[in-house]
């Protein structure tokens, strides 16, 4: 049995993060950790050794874009793909860092899982 991929879910919504973890856990392919505070995302990713980060965009303490900037600035996390989980329409701003993937809420856990697998197979977007 291959080792489980470590997936970090960063979302301030307790129900969303819990249900997503339940759905991903049910596949048996991932080890999922949830962080509800955006400001703790980088520390959680380092501590957990995340292989992919699912990141909410609109959070009360910080924004997904800011968290993404911090993740990208951390040398140990350079290769970790980041997926935006967003309820808002994607913003196309050339000045801000772009994630490797977008997925719109609401989505099925199986859709998120398929995206994680694809992104883990191909690595970070070029």
């Amino acid at each position: 049995m291959s080792p489980k991929h470590r997936v970090l879910v960063v979302d301030d919504d307790l129900q969303v993060s819990r249900t997503l973890k339940l759905g991903l856990d049910a596949t048996g392919r991932y080890e999922v950790r949830v962080e509800n505070r955006g400001t703790r995302a980088v520390a959680a990713a380092l501590e957990f050794g995340a292989q992919i980060v699912l990141l909410d965009v609109v959070m009360p303490d910080t924004s997904g874009h800011e968290v993404l900037r911090q993740l990208r600035a951390e040398p140990c996390l350079q290769a970790v793909p980041v997926v935006f989980l967003t309820a808002a329409p994607p913003e196309c701003d050339a000045d801000t860092a772009q994630p490797d993937e977008w997925i719109s809420k609401p989505a099925l856990a199986s859709e998120v899982a398929a995206l994680i697998d694809r992104r883990l197979a191909t690595g970070r977007a070029r």
Binding site: L22, G23, A88, K105, P106
Partner: protein
């Protein structure tokens, strides 16, 4: 004071100066006799005498006489010469012939040439009265001429005003017959004044004004306020005029005429209309902006709960699919409903945010089938018969699947709501033919058997917040979003009422250039 003296007093110049008398007389004693006759009438006067034409002309200038008394025949000059000189000089003076000649022919001849009277030298007692009458006659004539001049000038001024105004000035009798209409009708309405015989030729008569041609001007005529009337232009257009009228009453207080001044305000009204439309558009834009902000907030707040439900349903389906089929169906319905709720939220977002499409080659039929699947419970609940007629030879189209699905869901929802008692919904797709060849267009139609759209509303159905549905049933955004999505795809949409009742919505998609 004699009667003649009193009359002469009245004939004196108004400034109190003595009467200036120019005498044409070569016999000095005769002149003295004449002046003595006047003195006897107690007339204050000064007199000069001349015997030649040259003197006569000079004294006319220097002496500025009030009256001329002339003998008929002098050696070098005559009364007829004097009259001719006066005519020549364009001087009009009271002129009395004082002569010893007794023939009536001479008198008549002089009067024909402009003399006022004639007096025989042997009957000089008549002279003061003759002078007085001549002066009075001239004064009356002059006053009459002044009055006529004043009238002419006044008429000329009114004519200038009436004929050069850009307004339409009409004089009507109480029955509406046109007595006068200003020539501006040529420019304003392209009619000749003579063609406008009655008020009905001038302005549109409402049905209830038949027999009351002035009824339409009631307000303008009673209150003196402006009243709008529609005047017919020769080219068939109706132009809007502002009418201000007033009654002209006779001494008995009865209405004799109406004066109506009409001003063409068509262009002003059009400008006002354009301004109003611009203001409405501005308000609309502001509304849309606030809806956009609201939508973005709502979307975020609603999408998280939808995520939880959707993922929860999926989790439960995986756990319960070996159990009762009812449970499985229930979970499927929950998933479908959640996706539908998401479609509504996405509609709000699509409406309020700049459109971006995620276009991929896709079969239009599969999108239609997806939308039908989302709606199948609604169809069942409303007892709607659904007829599906999808052509199987359609090329793939570059479409944003979710957005086009949203288009069909919206069209299906509208159709359903127009048929609350049930009915038939038909959806069909086909590939258009063009000159016998397969064209690059793919068509789709959604048809219902509902009540249709009122003809006057059909042009507004894509306007934001326009709805024909009862209060609380429609946001007025459905078709706006549909239109926006269709426009983004470069496709077209047309909505029309069917002859047999109900509405048909037609969509035309173009295949890509590589097709």
């Amino acid at each position: 004071v004699s009667v003649a003296g009193a009359a002469l007093g009245a004939a004196l110049p108004g400034d109190g100066s003595p009467l200036r008398i120019l005498m044409v007389e070569d016999v000095e004693t005769d002149a003295e006799l004449v002046l003595a006759a006047l003195r006897r009438a107690q007339l204050a006067f000064t007199a000069r005498r001349c015997e030649t034409a040259a003197d006569f002309v000079r004294l006319l200038e220097e002496f500025d006489p009030h009256v001329v008394l002339a003998d008929y025949s002098l050696p070098q000059f005559s009364a007829l010469d004097a009259l001719a000189l006066l005519r020549e000089q364009r001087v009009r003076l009271p002129f009395v012939l004082v002569t010893g000649t007794q023939t009536e022919e001479i008198a008549v001849q002089c009067i024909k040439e402009g003399a006022d009277d004639y007096v025989l030298k042997e009957r000089l007692a008549r002279l003061p009265a003759a002078v007085s009458r001549a002066i009075q006659t001239h004064r009356t004539e002059r006053e009459k001429e002044h009055a006529e001049d004043a009238l002419r000038s006044s008429e000329e001024r009114y004519r200038l005003i009436a004929e050069n105004t850009r307004d339409l000035i009409c004089l009507l009798d109480p029955n509406g017959a046109v007595l006068y209409v200003s020539p501006s009708c040529r420019e304003l309405l392209r009619y000749e004044p003579a063609e406008l015989a009655t008020a009905a030729d001038l302005w549109r008569m409402p049905d209830d004004a038949v027999g009351r041609p002035m009824g339409i001007l009631r307000l303008a005529l009673v209150d003196g306020g402006a009243n709008e009337v529609q005047c017919r232009h020769r080219d068939g257009d109706w132009r809007t005029f502002e009418a201000v009228g007033s009654w002209v009453r006779g001494d008995d207080g009865g209405v004799q005429h109406a004066v109506v001044v009409l001003r063409d305000v068509t262009d002003r009204k059009r400008a006002e209309e354009r301004l109003r439309e611009a203001q409405l558009q501005l308000i609309q834009a502001e509304k849309m902006e606030s809806v956009g902000r609201l939508a973005a907030g709502v979307a975020h707040e609603v999408k998280n709960p939808l995520t939880v439900i959707l993922m929860g349903v999926e989790y439960l389906r995986q756990r319960f699919d070996q159990f009762e089929p009812e449970v499985v169906t229930l979970l499927e319905d929950m998933e479908a409903s959640t996706r539908k709720a998401n479609t509504v939220v996405r509609g709000l977002l699509d409406f309020s945010t700049p459109g971006t499409l995620d276009r991929l080659p896709v079969a239009l039929n599969s999108i239609v089938e997806g939308a039908l699947a989302l709606m199948r419970h609604e169809f069942a609940r409303a007892q709607t018969e659904v007829v599906v007629d999808l052509a199987d030879d359609l090329p793939a189209l570059e479409l944003d699947r979710h957005k086009i699905e949203q288009v069909f869901v919206n069209l299906f929802l509208n159709a359903l709501q127009s048929m609350p008692e049930g009915g038939r919904l038909t959806v069909r797709t086909w590939r258009a033919d063009e000159n016998g060849r397969r064209s690059r267009a793919v068509c789709a139609q959604v048809e219902d058997t509902g009540g249709g759209i009122q003809p006057d509303k059909i042009s507004k159905i894509f306007d934001p917040f326009f709805t024909t549905k009862p209060l609380g049933r429609g946001t007025g955004l459905g078709l706006t979003v549909v239109k926006k999505i269709i426009d983004l795809h470069g496709a077209t949409i047309a909505v029309s009422n069917k002859q047999t009742g109900g509405v048909v919505v037609s969509l035309v998609f173009r295949t890509g250039p590589g097709e």
